[in-house]
Amino acid sequence: MSQSTVSILVVDDEFSVRDSLTSWFKKDGYEVLAVESAAAALRALEARKYAVGVFDIKMPGIDGIELQERVHHLDPQMPVIMLTAFASVETAVRALKQGAFDYVTKPIDPDELSHLVRRALEQQRLRDENRQLRSTIDELTGADEAIVGDSPAMQRLQQLIRSVAKTEATVLIRGESGTGKELVARAIHAQSARRYFPLIPVNCGSLPEDLLESELFGHEKGAFTGARQRRKGRLEMADGGTLFLDEVGTIPRKMQVDLLRVLETHEFTRVGASRPSRSDFRVVCATNDDLRRAVAEGRFREDFLYRIDVFPIEVPPLRDRREDIPLLVRHFVDQFAMRMQKPVTEIAPEVMVMLQALDWPGNVRELSNTIERAMVVCRPPVLRGEDLALLRHAGGVAPAEPPRDSLAAVERRHVAAMLERTGWNITRAAELLEVDRVTVYNKIKKYGLAQK
């Protein structure tokens, strides 16, 4: 097997070392460039990549350790073997801490040198392979992040996202539960100039008022009982990026006043702090509530609504874009087949007919859950109608939500919020709700709650 494509960069100020290593590596079939200084090595690395570096530690000017550090920034994947004439534990530890692949003392045993280079190349090969596999998986499963659908409604939505993403305008995403409002928020962030900074989501509905304040603004050490450390709030974490306020309609009125000021000035004060802090973030909000009605009913402040409703985006319910159902079904089947390691490659025609006939009150999320459950029972390679029929009787279609202000609606929201907050840890949720676990299970069943 020829190794002619593998290149090694040798850096040593001594001619005899460069000369012997070049001769040695060339006979092993490697392509070699040997240079006398770190400056020459950095110039060489600007021109092209090398598979392995062999650097002498002691050199005039920039020494091998510093060179290794700089190379690590230029090409973090490049393994570097450090050479030295004098063995010193301190130097070895320093080199290895900075990411050197290994460290050897001159003169080197020929067998050790051959092994070292082979091991470095093998490690790099595995790393490359791993990266490639990860990107393939991300491509397939990260389709999670994709907005699927080419109906006119979805094309309009994509156009709106593209237009608004490039601006700094505050966006209000409206749509029924399960339509994919968070995906829209992520798409806006991903296509904006802020994409290299974080997107910080805050699920306003899942946090009680006092917690929401400290969650958003952060708190100082000792600000309240239990605040043992200073904590960054979401506003501060979103600096440079996007703050995504989900379920914005559930923010209490008092908090709306505070937030209104923050959204206008980008200044806020941590709980327990005396001086305000600044953060540069863009705001994207989402709601499934009718905020104009909420204003009329006094639940929502009008000034806050005007502040967030700068660029409204409607996400259509699934029943208004039934033509996208086959695409979505294909997408979810591929995704779950990959995750479950189940080779389901065909979808029986009756599946599409059945799924397109339903109204999907729980929208895309409900469709996704239905496909996931069908995939559990289905026998590869075909997803059949019978896999769905059973599931629909078993509750595949979400129960209708009770009217929003009824006691049941409030209870449903609160139980769901506690479950989200505890990551669906039933025991913890039961503790917070001060009921037993069986009651929590009964509420989940009664309201048809499902983990998102």
Partner: protein, 180 residues
């Protein structure tokens, strides 16, 4: 017929191996082998600190003092060889060049505390010579463990391979020797 000049350098007690090695290389490679005494002082390659001889210096001297018409040179020595960055080498050659050198020093069983075995030592010498000559023909190390061009960094590794080239390496040697 292509030729090879065999140059003994500090052969000491191994001087008797020069003629048989020449005959064997002639038979294996189809080369005309001529023995030519060194006309330079090889002591210049001695490194006092290491107690070894620097092959890079020896190869340079070999080229400097050789018959300019000789297409290939193979130095044969009994002293311990090194290249500056490595602890030792069995031999050394310029890839695609004219000069190579091999040593018997690390091929003898006695160095490893084993009973002397002159026949085994000679076999190792033949393999290392054919290997270094392969580099002169432009061959790099071969991944086939039985090919003489397989890399051997320890003496047992030399014993594992044959004294001949694999078909692929042989093809390249033949092209270098004029398409035979």
């Amino acid at each position: 017929m292509a030729s090879l000049q065999l140059v003994p350098i500090f052969c000491g007690q191994q001087a008797g191996l020069v003629a048989p090695l020449g005959a064997r290389l002639a038979a294996l490679l189809g080369l005309e082998v001529v023995v030519h005494e060194a006309t330079f002082d090889a002591e210049v390659a001695f490194d006092v600190d290491r107690g070894q001889y620097n092959t890079r210096v020896l190869l340079a001297r070999l080229l400097q003092h050789a018959d300019p018409k000789a297409p290939r040179l193979l130095g044969l020595t009994a002293v311990d060889l090194f290249i500056p960055v490595l602890t030792f080498v069995f031999g050394e050659a310029e890839l695609g060049g004219r000069a190579a050198i091999v040593s018997t020093f690390r091929l003898e069983n006695e160095l490893y505390g084993l009973p002397p075995d002159p026949a085994l030592c000679f076999e190792r010498l033949v393999k290392e010579s054919v290997h270094e000559l392969g580099h002169l023909f432009g061959l790099v190390h071969c991944q086939r463990s039985s090919c003489v061009m397989a890399s051997s960094n320890y003496v047992e590794g030399i014993d594992l391979k044959a004294a001949s080239y694999c078909d692929r390496c042989l093809g390249q040697v033949r092209r270098q020797l004029g398409g035979r």
